[in-house]
């Protein structure tokens, strides 16, 4: 059964496709996969086929893209996907402590999703906010200058 975008998403997809010359639809693959992830929570093979049909290429070419870039999830994630930066500047300013604290509080190792599907904890490379480290993304929101206390407040606000 072929997946189709909702009318809203379809409009957005058409706008994205209009940014490129007519015969260059393949350029839309990255934004369309983002859209697919928004629409269906994560990128499934069916989503890849849907995008492939829209840009007129074979599905494996979309899989090449979807599996290359770290931002596309091929498995479902929790309601709150947490990415903690662990690259050098944040490592120097205490991300190990932050990661350890979060890991303990959520009962998750990096890479894991909780049984209750609320949280996914991951490590990520530099988020270009090195003067405010340690930093983390919670879904699309960036939190900086993290301390255990701040983390407590953030988690509480996510109830």
């Amino acid at each position: 059964m072929a997946l189709e975008f909702s009318p809203e998403a379809r409009k957005r997809a058409d706008e994205i496709l209009s940014r490129y010359p007519q015969d260059r639809k393949k350029s839309a693959v990255v934004p369309l996969l983002h859209l697919a992830q928004e629409e269906w929570g994560y990128v499934t093979p069916e989503a890849m086929v849907c995008v492939a049909d829209m840009i007129g290429c074979s599905p494996v070419k979309v899989a090449e893209i979807a599996t290359f870039y770290p931002m596309y999830n091929k498995q479902p994630v929790g309601k709150y996907e947490i990415h903690v930066c662990h690259t050098l500047p944040c490592a120097l300013t205490g991300c190990a402590e932050v990661l350890g604290y979060l890991s303990e509080k959520l009962g998750l190792q990096p890479g894991e999703t909780g049984e209750d599907k609320r949280f996914t904890l991951k490590k990520i490379e530099c988020l270009a906010a090195c003067d405010r480290g340690p930093v983390m993304l919670v879904n699309k929101t960036l939190y900086t200058n993290l301390t255990p206390e701040k983390i407590d407040d953030i988690l509480k606000s996510l109830e």
Binding site: V30, C57, Y69, M71, C130
Partner: protein
């Protein structure tokens, strides 16, 4: 010492709402575009930028005017602006994109007019969610105000600019990796020659790839004129620089100075020194790929030329400062893991060699290093350096490994000999400059002098 300047960042320090075009215009925004489109020819603009001595701010420091001059006249041409800031220690493009997006757009419009480009893309990190949304809104505003679209300001010049999101891969910051990503392919960098973007770029057409900050600098140059711009900094490195101080400093942040400021001044005067007034162990001066400087090497101005002369690079001006509590072995393992994570996998030396080095470094950290491992690591560096499709193999692949091992040989040796992670007292952890040599011209090409190896115990 050099005084702080505010050529690039004055407005955004003072006004948090510059993303609103009306606020931007009220501050004098888009006046440069008007002036340029109405009273200058494309050739005038290119000459102005050449004359200004502007060097690209994306890391490579290539003269922007020269890059523009190399653009083949085979229509259509395209502009790709690199906002894929992923170099650890670099966070200045985020500042400009967040705080003053319209200045970047203005620079893009001027660039496109100068090079007869009618279609451009601003490629931004996929993780810059709010920035991307904001940029979409800004571009809509710019178009609504008549600075984009057809027949801009009645000059007959057409231009469309679009945002393009990345999806979390550092290699998209390589100019041909960016182009491949924009074409919808796996972002494998291209062979150069023949695929220099100015000759064969996006969809096979001549393409200019410039950094976000470079675009902002272009607007400043055309606003104040090349002569005034050249007065800032030195002949080697004109114009303002944005230095990103991070790591072990009291006042991390972005600081706008000219290139004559020294690394020492940046660490101690600008960024307030090291917390707890601890001792400096080392500083990586241009983003993680830049070869590290020991405490004996920081009296060098942040000019592109001066940095290049001592074997490192000005890069993106992102300075990662490390104090005496830092294990250089651990720091290198971190840099190596970053490289392993971001290697695209296209070519053999990087795909296989970078993870191998990472495995060896991990063993050394865990106390399982062997006496031959350091020589092995340096040998693997030789096998990767200059033999890859793109510069990733060198930086961040080889340069951190080679320079940290060579300069901090004692600390690495100690970890191997003592079979555990050792943090030596700062002054014992690195070699004196006369114990190693830099072989120009490529940064990071450091070699231990044989007597140093002997002195350090083999």
């Amino acid at each position: 010492m050099a005084a702080p300047i505010s050529v690039l960042t004055k407005e955004l320090r003072e006004n948090p709402r510059l993303a609103d075009i009306d606020v931007y215009i009220a501050q004098g925004g888009y006046k440069t575009v008007e002036k340029v489109l109405k009273s200058m020819t494309p050739e005038d603009i290119v000459n102005e930028v050449k004359n200004s001595g502007l060097k690209g701010r994306g890391g490579a420091g290539f003269a922007t005017g020269m890059k523009w001059g190399l653009c083949a006249e085979r229509f259509p041409l395209y502009l790709c602006v690199n906002g894929d800031e992923s170099e650890p220690g670099s966070f200045k493009d985020r500042l400009l994109l967040e705080g003053n997006p319209h200045r970047v757009i203005e620079g893009m419009i001027i660039t496109c007019f100068a090079l007869k480009i009618n279609l451009g893309y601003l490629y931004m990190r996929g993780e810059f969610f709010q920035i991307i949304d904001q940029m979409e809104a800004c571009l809509k505003q710019t178009k609504a105000h008549g600075f984009l679209g057809k027949d801009i300001l009645g000059t007959g010049f057409d231009l469309e600019l679009y945002p393009q999101a990345g999806a979390g891969a550092y290699i998209c910051g390589e100019e041909t990796g960016l182009i491949e990503s924009l074409e919808g392919n796996r972002p494998y960098p291209r062979l150069k020659p023949p695929f220099f973007p100015a000759a064969i770029g996006l969809w096979g057409q001549p393409t200019i790839v410039n950094n976000v900050e470079t675009m902002a600098q272009v607007e400043r140059i055309l606003d104040m004129g090349a002569e005034a711009y050249k007065q800032i900094g030195s002949a080697d490195s004109t114009g303002p620089r944005l230095f990103g101080m991070c790591g072990h400093v009291k006042k991390p942040g972005i600081y706008e100075y000219d290139s004559t400021v020294t690394i020492r001044e940046l660490i101690y005067d600008v960024a307030g020194g090291i917390p707890g007034d601890r001792k400096l162990k080392g500083v990586i001066p241009g983003g993680i790929s830049a070869p590290i400087l020991t405490p004996l090497e920081i009296d060098v101005p942040a000019e592109f030329g001066a940095m290049g002369k001592i074997g490192t690079m000005g890069g993106t001006g992102g300075m990662i400062v490390m104090d005496e509590t830092t294990s250089i072995v651990d720091a290198l393992l971190n840099a190596s893991s970053f490289a392993r994570h971001e290697s695209c996998g296209q070519c053999t030396p990087c795909r296989e060699g970078v993870p191998w080095m990472n495995d060896i470094l991990r063993r050394i950290k865990e106390g399982k290093g062997r006496s031959e491992d350091l020589e092995l690591l340096l040998d693997i560096c030789v096998q990767i350096h200059g033999r890859t499709v793109c510069v990733f193999g060198q930086a961040p692949g080889v340069w951190p490994v080679r320079t940290m091992i060579v300069k901090y040989w004692p600390e690495f040796k100690a970890c191997i000999d003592q079979k555990r992670l050792v943090v030596l007292p700062v002054d014992e952890s690195y070699l004196k400059p006369d114990q190693y040599e830099f072989v120009p011209p490529v940064p990071g090409n450091f070699r231990l002098k044989p007597e140093a190896v002997a002195a350090a115990g083999g």
